[in-house]
């Protein structure tokens, strides 16, 4: 009896949690008029893909998609490249590891807006504000992605026994080639996880994107404007586009998610 109640509660909570996703997909594939209907509909009465085209007519959707993608991919490369050597150092030298840990905690402490406002002013000065290729935004997103890349890679390098690297050195390999041929291949799965997570951090990012770009926008601010100007169907269509990579990556990342790597990444 009590057990049945628990099961009922659990499934009710799960249903409510699925509702936002269901509604966004429903709004994306119903005619804009139906999204304004009263009382609101819970299942689509009419199916259409017109919202996707209409959204592309209302805002530069293709350009936004390309910019979101290129900034996210560039961020993956830069964040991993910068974090990788530091993560290896932190895993091998305890003192350096503790210090870098502290630096990373402090780096994550500052509010986005407190960095975004002065960064916008600086970028105006250097001609990177609203850059058509999103170079300024790329710099900001790299800053956001670094702690994630660092934490995942440091944990991965800790899992590589020092003896393996030492053995390679004894066999006459240089420090560099022992790293390239022994350590790096062993952390490849974590490298993949870090890449996907950093991609998502950039892909989902809203505040920097809003402040550092005005006309050359990525998807999150485009979605925000469509929603703020009162286009539920069109904004939902953009939302569905945004969801696709996010959902795929999160399914792949589920194990890392459960280990708590994402804790505290609210903003």
């Amino acid at each position: 009896m009590k057990r049945q109640l628990l099961v009922g509660v659990a499934f009710a909570i799960a249903t409510v949690n699925l509702l936002p996703l269901w509604l966004v997909v429903k709004q994306a594939v119903t005619p804009e008029g139906e999204s304004f209907a009263w009382p609101p509909t819970w299942v689509p009465h009419e199916f259409t893909l017109a919202n996707f085209g209409a959204a592309a007519d209302a805002v530069p959707l293709g350009q936004g998609l390309a910019l979101s993608l290129s900034v996210a991919l560039a961020t993956v490369v830069s964040a991993l490249a910068i974090a990788l050597p530091a993560a290896w150092l932190a895993a091998r030298r305890e003192k350096a590891g503790t210090r870098l840990d502290g630096v990373m905690v402090v780096a994550r402490l500052f509010p986005t807006i407190a960095i975004a406002v002065p960064l916008a002013v600086i970028f105006v000065r250097f001609g990177l504000y609203n850059d058509p290729n999103g170079v300024g935004l790329w710099f900001a997103h790299t800053l956001l992605g670094l702690p994630f890349a660092f934490l995942i890679l440091r944990a991965a390098f800790r899992g590589v026994p020092t003896e393996l690297e030492d053995a390679a050195l004894l066999d006459g390999a240089s420090a560099w080639s022992s790293f390239l041929r022994v350590s790096l291949p062993l952390v490849r799965p974590s490298l993949g996880a870090a890449a996907m997570l950093v991609f998502l951090v950039s892909w989902d990012e809203f505040a920097y994107a809003l402040l550092l770009q005005v006309t050359n926008r990525t998807l999150p601010p485009l979605l925000y404007y469509l929603s703020a100007f009162g286009y539920p169907g069109l904004s939902s269509a953009v939302a569905v586009l945004m969801l696709l990579p996010a959902v795929v990556i999160l399914l792949l990342l589920e194990p890392a998610l459960r280990s708590g790597v994402l804790a505290g990444s609210g903003r």
Binding site: A14, R92, T112, A114, A207, A239
Partner: protein, 273 residues
């Protein structure tokens, strides 16, 4: 080769894109936006005279408390519930994590559609004969609670994950011993489980509290810059609507100081750990 050189790219990057902008924020905050003189308290005087800023400061202190309280209660409840052996456990967990897995902006825009006067919540109310309410009406208690609730809903999974991990790490024998001693399930929870979860609860509260201080997208998307003002949206408002770099930077500096203060226990715990 000196090993510490490996950390140089990271440290240089942080110096250029974190330390330099923060320094620039302080410089801007103490520069008079009109005359350009430095140092000047003109921007802080603008803030002190602005009702919206004072509201933002108060809301920025209250909102995290309400949101984190909601999250901890919900996260603890969910962790206890899903620690049980229920059917389709993996599926239930995935559903609970979903709000945090969705991109923040996607979750917020759909929640706006849920909470507006002609939204889904009022639609559900109408089905049971309750008159529609304007939950997001600017400057009301209901819009404040709505923003806190939406943020709590989205970030409860973080608290849930921390507590679920802590629950799984508890030795099963302790609960069994209490059961053998005849303790009721409520007493077992209150006197055994909860004290053991304390470190995880404190960690979750500190972490989430620090995050909630920087709330930006939720109040902005749900209510605009003036509905439920916080320091982040205020700074954004000053910068984008008035083009006042000085006032925006000054509000940012106030927020950054708040975050520093709030993080003191977090940093101290790290040092002792």
């Amino acid at each position: 080769m000196r090993a510490w050189l490996l950390a140089v790219p990271l440290l240089v990057y942080l110096a250029v894109f974190l330390v330099y902008p923060m320094g620039e924020a302080v410089r801007l905050a103490f520069t008079d936006s009109v005359s350009g003189s430095f140092p000047s308290l003109a921007s802080f005087r603008i803030l002190a005279d602005d009702r919206l800023f004072r509201d933002a400061l108060v809301v920025n202190l209250l909102l995290p408390m309400v949101a984190v309280a909601l999250e901890v209660v919900a996260g603890l409840g969910l962790a206890l519930l899903l620690a049980e052996r229920l059917p389709a456990r993996r599926l239930l967990r995935a559903a609970v994590l979903l709000p945090f897995a969705l991109p923040e902006i996607v979750f917020l825009t759909i929640l706006r559609n849920v909470l507006t006067p002609r939204g889904y919540l009022n639609g559900a109310f109408a089905m049971v004969g309750v008159a529609p309410v304007d939950l997001l009406s600017p400057g009301t208690a209901s819009s404040f609670v709505s923003v806190a609730f939406v943020d709590a809903w989205r970030t409860t999974p973080v608290v849930f994950l921390i507590l679920l991990g802590a629950l799984a790490a508890l030795p099963a024998e302790i609960g069994q011993a209490a059961r053998v001693d005849g303790a009721s399930s409520w007493r077992r929870f209150w006197h055994v489980t909860l004290p053991l979860l304390r470190p995880a609860l404190v960690a979750a509260i500190l972490l989430r509290g620090l995050d909630a201080l920087r709330l930006f997208a939720a109040p902005l998307v749900l209510t605009g810059v003036e509905g439920v003002p916080v320091l982040s949206t205020y700074a954004y408002h000053q910068w984008s609507d008035y083009g006042d770099d000085g006032a925006a930077a000054a509000a940012s500096v106030v927020l950054a100081l708040l975050c520093l203060l709030a993080s003191a226990p977090l940093l101290r715990r790290r040092v002792t750990a």
